[in-house]
Symmetry: C2
Subunit: 218 residues, 2 copies
Amino acid sequence: MQTMGLSRLVLVTPLRFPDADADAMAAGADAILNAARVAASLDEALAGATLAIGFSARAREFAGTVLPVRAAMQEALRYAASGDVALVFGTEMSGLSNAELSRCQIVATIPAVSDFGSLNLAAAVQVAAYELRVAAHGDRVWTAPAFEPATQEEIELLFEQGERALIAIDFLRPAHPKRLLPRLRRLFSRARLEKEEVNILRGILARIEERVQNGWRK
Amino acid sequence: MQTMGLSRLVLVTPLRFPDADADAMAAGADAILNAARVAASLDEALAGATLAIGFSARAREFAGTVLPVRAAMQEALRYAASGDVALVFGTEMSGLSNAELSRCQIVATIPAVSDFGSLNLAAAVQVAAYELRVAAHGDRVWTAPAFEPATQEEIELLFEQGERALIAIDFLRPAHPKRLLPRLRRLFSRARLEKEEVNILRGILARIEERVQNGWRK
């Protein structure tokens, strides 16, 4: 929850709370656990919510709107603009009962293989929290440090020098060029060269041309 | 892994393997653990792979292509059509080293809050496996049992009967209808009525009309 930016946890009739094992496992996110609210019933927990989304791995006869978790979290975000939205999870052993699911306007389900379909509670919460985060903030991520990209002109100069060098070492025969240059173009184009890389490659090529001119002597 | 349809686990120099604790926690997915391969180095583990995707929560100076996990798993699927793809995770304590990440063509990262950004290993694997599943199979889910939807004609008959009933109980005054009927239309249109629900509602309305005609006597 904390990693994904969620903070409000409500526990409905927990067997034990507070609990030393839970504290130990919270690993730095104990603020959420310490601030958790305990409710005497699901109805009490949901009293202020304008939308409740229940999670279930199994089809239920009286399920209303059933959505994949991705679409359900987008809907959660839409409603969160005007009120509290509750994500409702059942127990590790048996999930939500039909009576509990009937309190939810949307049933969310997480895609899984059909013959081994039930996630652990923590895993289901993780996927839901992740989808909510992506729905809210997109999935832009830190980018690699910005090395300066090479310009088209720099790259063309590299290709020209490369062609000269390949001819010089007798690897490319101008009369029968085959597909060599287009293949190399494709490779370096895909790599999206940076300025410094162009300089390194041109340095290597210059060294080759120099060695050829000197008859490969030391 | 098993819930999301993955089966091949490779462990690089594990501290203990096999391990009784791991067996106990596998909870029905012990087939994956039993078939896990142990490799003496990351290079050995990756030898047959045509694409390696490393997971990291932090920016790295020499990271190559950095993608959010969703885009990275789509790329994984594309490469899986022609070879083995490896998803590479570091240790719980410190993640992947720079040397390990340099073996990976893509760095995948999972969106998270910036000041508490690191997921547990199991949580990160869960999100990756989930995104891979959605990339491969879409996120269609079981649908609610198919109750037969009502036809437009049935719904119009319901609205006509409803209007009569509302007039009969003096709630709707035809001279000053206000926005009552459009609001009710909007509600029931949103609910996408089923045949049986229309029948139930018409039964209720018929009962109201009957009681009005009888002067509300018992």
